[in-house]
Symmetry: C2
Subunit: 214 residues, 2 copies
Amino acid sequence: MAARSKTKEKILRTALALLNNEGEVNITSVDIAAVMEISPGNLYYHYKGKDVIIAELFADFENELRQVLAAPVNKPMALEDNWIYLYIIFEEINDFRFFFLNLTSLLERIPELKPKFMRLLSLMQNTFERLLSGLEASGHLNFRPGEKQILSERLTAHFTYWLPYANLRGLRGSPKTIIHEGVYAALTQITPHWGDQSEPYAALLKDFLDEQVG
Amino acid sequence: MAARSKTKEKILRTALALLNNEGEVNITSVDIAAVMEISPGNLYYHYKGKDVIIAELFADFENELRQVLAAPVNKPMALEDNWIYLYIIFEEINDFRFFFLNLTSLLERIPELKPKFMRLLSLMQNTFERLLSGLEASGHLNFRPGEKQILSERLTAHFTYWLPYANLRGLRGSPKTIIHEGVYAALTQITPHWGDQSEPYAALLKDFLDEQVG
């Protein structure tokens, strides 16, 4: 990615905060300029409208998420790192939550994003399947034929739609709480597959869940 | 619900087919009038714009889905009817799929629908929890504390977002195939909880899955 000017970087940070906190439909490029105390013309000089800013923010998200998803490929994870890893993916999604809360309309309005987003989903599914395979190989999880693939697919759907679902269900709490419940709901899809070697896994999970309540 | 004129009924059926098949963003009330070979003014006499039609279609959907979701409350189901039941819920959703494919933007544009939709989700979650409780009571499923509630929540999310997810993942096939894969993905969330009495359950599931392939 080409280096950005300081102003461009500041525009992107401001836009991201506004889109996440105020809702994508409520924010115009004029709002972004107003918060930055620059003229709309000055903003337009850097970015030709809100959707150009959104496309640039998506590029940032894609870049960050690709790095996160590549992690277990580069180096197998210790058992206790699995939960943290799911947490990190959720935090990444939460950092760009405006995108997930308006997925359909944004992909329709900015069609160039759709193939990129589809590739990200595909990568996410591969990563989950690899993660489950690792836990299966070490005897921590058991799967019948086909179950691993469909579970990784369901986890991908879960990560994609957890934030809009929590919103629709009126789940209360800080973003941290919402993420934690999302990770917990992901884990409860994995734990029924516990295998013979599951005791240390169960203990780690218990620590993780106790921590969330505290 | 008040009785509708024949014309109103025909407008709603035409609109539903167009919205489902052509995509919600691509259809205007002028398109609906054109397909019906009536003037836009005539259409407007019956319904004051596309969003009024959509709100009326949602009322139909709500009405039908409430009846389906109330079924297991009225009468406990035979074991073999559980799969069929999930199938019926999915078919109901598929019949009004334009709504699920554009959920966020429609709920934002027609705010009166949001509380109604939220109540439907709540009802769906209750129904799933009751269904799981029945299978637990008969020894077909085992749950640790809290698992039943979170599984019913996850199933609700799964039913809500399966169609847009299948769309984003580029799943190919007829609507029937997409529904079948959605039911299958729902079942694979339930089967890891199989209990001691699961043999007849497993055999029924196998029949169900074999049938889909055939």
